[in-house]
Each structure stands twice: as C-alpha cells, then as structure tokens.
Amino acid sequence: MSNEDKNEKSDQERNPEDRKPEDRTEEKKQAAPEPEPVPVAAPSVVEKTEVKAGTAPDQEPDQPAEEAKRAELVRAAYEHPLPIRMTHWVHAISLFVMVTSGLRIFRAFPSFGPKIPEKVLLEVPKSLTLGGWLGGALQWHFTFMWLFAASGLLYVAYQVTSGHYRTVLFTPRDVPGVWPMARHYFFFGPKPAATGQYNPLQKLAYCSTIGFGLLSLLTGMVLYKPAQFSWLAFLFGGFHLTRIWHFAAMCGLLAFIPGHLIMVLLHGWSNFFSMLSGWKREPEYQE
C-alpha cells in the first residue's frame, strides 16, 4: 500500500458525513452479496487483522502484535466443494436403499443357477432388507436408481469440469505409496507423511468405488432393460451372467463401506465435519 492510498482511506474514515447519501447507498449495494468462501475469505481476514492492529495509518504496523494475530489464525482447507458434499450424501442415502432393497429382490430368487432345480446360494435375513416384499423392494429400487445414477453422473461431471478430480484420481505415480499406507493401517508400520488431501490408499479406495458404482449402474441397466440395451447385455455375457456382475458390484461397494466408516471414526469429528461444511480444520498436509 502506498502512502497516498492510505491517506485517501483515512480521509474517508475521518469524515464519513461529508459524503453524499447516494454514495453511501451505493456502498451498501456493493457490500450486499456474500463473498464466496475460498478466494475472497482469506484476503478479507487479513485486512481485518490489519485494521484491528489499531496502528495509525501513517505508521509501520507493530511487528510483534501482527505475529500474535497470525498465530491466532487457524489453518484450514476447503476440501469438499458443495457438489461433492451433495453427491456424497445423496450416494450415502441412495446406496443404503439400493443395497437393502436389492437384497430383498435377491431373496425372491437367491441363486445364480437355473430355476429348476433351484439351489439357494445365500439366505439373506429379512431384517437386512427394505421393501417388505418383492414388489415393495422393486419400488424402492426403481425410485432410488435414478437418484444414484444422477448423483453419480453429476459427481463425475463436476470432478472433470472443475479439475477437482486431481485430488482423488489414482494414477501410476500413487502406486508406490499404496503399500506403505496399507502397512501403516494394518500392520502398525510407520506413518507416511501426508502430501495432499488424500493418501494413495485412499485414492485407490475411492476410485475403485467409483468403478464399482459405474459397474452397478451399467449392469443394472442390462437387468432392467436387457432387450433395449442388448449391446450392453452382450458385453456382460447376457442377462443371466449380468445378474452375477451386478451382485459382484454391490459386494465391491459393500467392501468399501466398513473401512470407510472405521477411518472416519478414527480420524474424528473435524474429518467427519469436513464432509458437511467443506472446511477441514488443521489439515495434516502442508502447501
């Protein structure tokens, strides 16, 4: 800030009454829109601390006071933009409904073999299922499949167009980092340093989940409309086999959930809250 600027500012502050009323209403109008969190928030805070330091405009800021103020600031990262949080929770709800109603549908014919003779492959307890009977379960399944699909497409579209996918996409460069992370989690090995929002094992887990989600969607399309999507049915080996792939995709998604929930529990409230508010307090990584 040049001296000239500072003088101009202090002039305005000293004599606010001198200004015309129109000027003030204009100022109010400009102040009305709420600032966007990420880009604007930081500078505005910095400005606030300068003003609070209470030094005369023509003096240098008091160095120790400034440092004390900086120490009061909290390191925070806006990790999860709104579309990510939205789709995360829509997926949490719709995946719950799809799995529980899907298991009820599976109960109607719990086999992947022929109808005659029918061999029960897996007895799913009724208490784990949703819908009450086959028809009810199908209604839940046929309702939430649209939410699950729309949310998935929105998620991928947002990740790709915003460039945010770079935080989560598992690339060949992440391969060497998977084992040290797994060793830390499962065999109490040393904890590798955090280099970004997600560690390589997390990226692998999240990306494989996206893969299983896509598989469940495509196989679901075949089971729902095998005649209309005959080319897709052909790709999966026909209707009969596709039922197995659809079940396998669910198993893949289910395999992710316990680990995910345990990690959320282990990492505490700040980590969980970041998927609600977007902001993570005191992230482990630098940058």
Binding site: G136, F144, G278
Partner: protein, 241 residues
C-alpha cells in the same frame, strides 16, 4: 489449498456451507418417513414413463439357437393361483371386445390360420430367474388386424380363465415378437402353461405374459385399480425388458 482463517470466521464459513446441504437432509427425511410410499409410487410411475420412452418398437429381443433352449422339463410352471383352471378346450372361444370393428367370439383355428411365428427367446421372471424357451404362435399385430382393432388405441387388456388379468401398451402389443402363443417346444400348449392360448412377449417380464386367455379388449382407458393382477399390488405396470 490451505488458507489461514480466524477461528470465528472458519466457524461462520462452516455453518454457511453446512446450510447448503439442507436439500439433501430434506431428501433423507422424505425417504424414510411416511411419505416414502408416495415417493416410491412416483418413482415407479417415472420409471414406467421412462421405460415407454426407451422402448423401440422394431428393436428385436435376442433369439437363440435350438441348442441353447432349456429342456421342456426345466421350463418352470408359474401361476398365481391354480395351475390348471380346467378350461374346456373343445368349447373354448376367445371373446374380443372394445375398440374393434369385428367384436365377438374367435376360435383357436382362426388364430392358427394366421402366419405362424416360431421363436427361441429368453423368458425373464421379475424374481430374477430366466429360461430360454421355444415358442410358437401368431403375431398379436396380425390378430389385431384380423379383428379390425383400432391400433391407435392405447392398450390391450386381457382376462384369463384363472381370473388373472393384464394390460399392455399398444406399442409392445404390436412388436413383431409379441405372440398369441399356442405352442411351446413344437407341441400345443399344455394346460399348466396356459392352454389353449397365452401371451408371449420377449420384451416383457413373465407376469405380463397372461395364460389361459379368455377375453381380449382394445381400449384407451384403464380402470385405475384394475391394470393387472400384480400391478394392482405394486409391480411396475410397464414391466418391459
């Protein structure tokens, strides 16, 4: 990207971001409270509408060679009540009514006189099992021509000797693989498979393939609580594949 915020400012930002999730929370509440029933009813209606839009009237369902067909003894008998409603096959006629130029009683011989289609197609049950079977019969579209049906009417309703009833959209009825089926595996339909005449449509689920046909009606209006035996209890009406 890491920024430095005052603790108060971080809380304020967090609160504001949290509020933006309210629509999702509302969705969650909707899903698991009493409105759940209405929500899924709307969901099924939407799915049925989408199914109608996805349906391609000339796109054929996959057909199979004779070697891929399951043996006749492994093709399940499936019925909702009795498997043999004791139809008097000698006196049987099919009643045709509604939006047709020639309503009345039609004999099996009249159906058999129409061009015969034989097809090996997959029969898929809503429960999840499927069998590849061999079917023979006349195209529904040929039969509708015979009776002078108004094919711009919206629905085909059928009633059955076992009190089962069904209705299907006209586009599916006119599909080239949709049959008035009187043969399975090259032999006349047996009683438990729906003798003397049943619907057979490889673009529909099993519960749409009504057996022991008794009455066929062409109409543009369905009674809301009488669209199909299972549909009235909550199955999808379109039931298309």
């Amino acid at each position: 990207m890491i920024t430095r915020l005052e603790s108060k400012e971080l809380k304020r930002q967090s609160r504001r971001q949290l509020l933006k999730l309210a629509p999702v929370a509302a969705l969650g509440a909707f899903a698991f409270l009493e409105v759940g029933d209405r929500l899924v009813a709307a969901g099924v209606r939407f799915s049925d509408w989408a199914s109608g839009e996805l349906f391609r009237s000339q796109h054929l369902a996959q057909t199979f060679s004779n070697s891929e067909v399951v043996p006749f003894t492994k093709f399940p008998y499936n019925g909702y009540d009795v498997l043999d409603p004791k139809v008097d096959l000698d006196k049987w006629t099919l009643t045709v009514e509604g939006d047709v130029r020639h309503p009345g009683e039609y004999t099996l011989a009249q159906v058999r006189a129409l061009p015969k289609i034989s097809q090996n197609t997959r029969h898929i049950c809503v429960e999840g099992w499927d069998v590849i079977g061999s079917f023979g019969g006349a195209r529904i579209s040929d039969f509708l021509k015979l009776v002078g049906a108004n094919t711009s009417a919206r629905f085909l309703e059928v009633e059955c000797a076992d009190d089962y009833y069904e209705s299907i959209d006209m586009a599916s009825a006119l599909h080239p693989q949709s049959l008035m089926c009187y043969e399975m595996y090259g032999a006349p339909l047996d009683r438990k498979h729906g003798a003397p005449l049943r619907l057979q449509m490889p673009t529909k689920l099993g519960y749409k393939q009504a057996k022991y046909l008794d009455t066929v009606r062409v109409t543009s209006v369905l009674k809301p609580d009488k669209t199909g035996y299972w549909e009235d209890q909550g199955y999808s009406w379109f039931g298309g594949l």
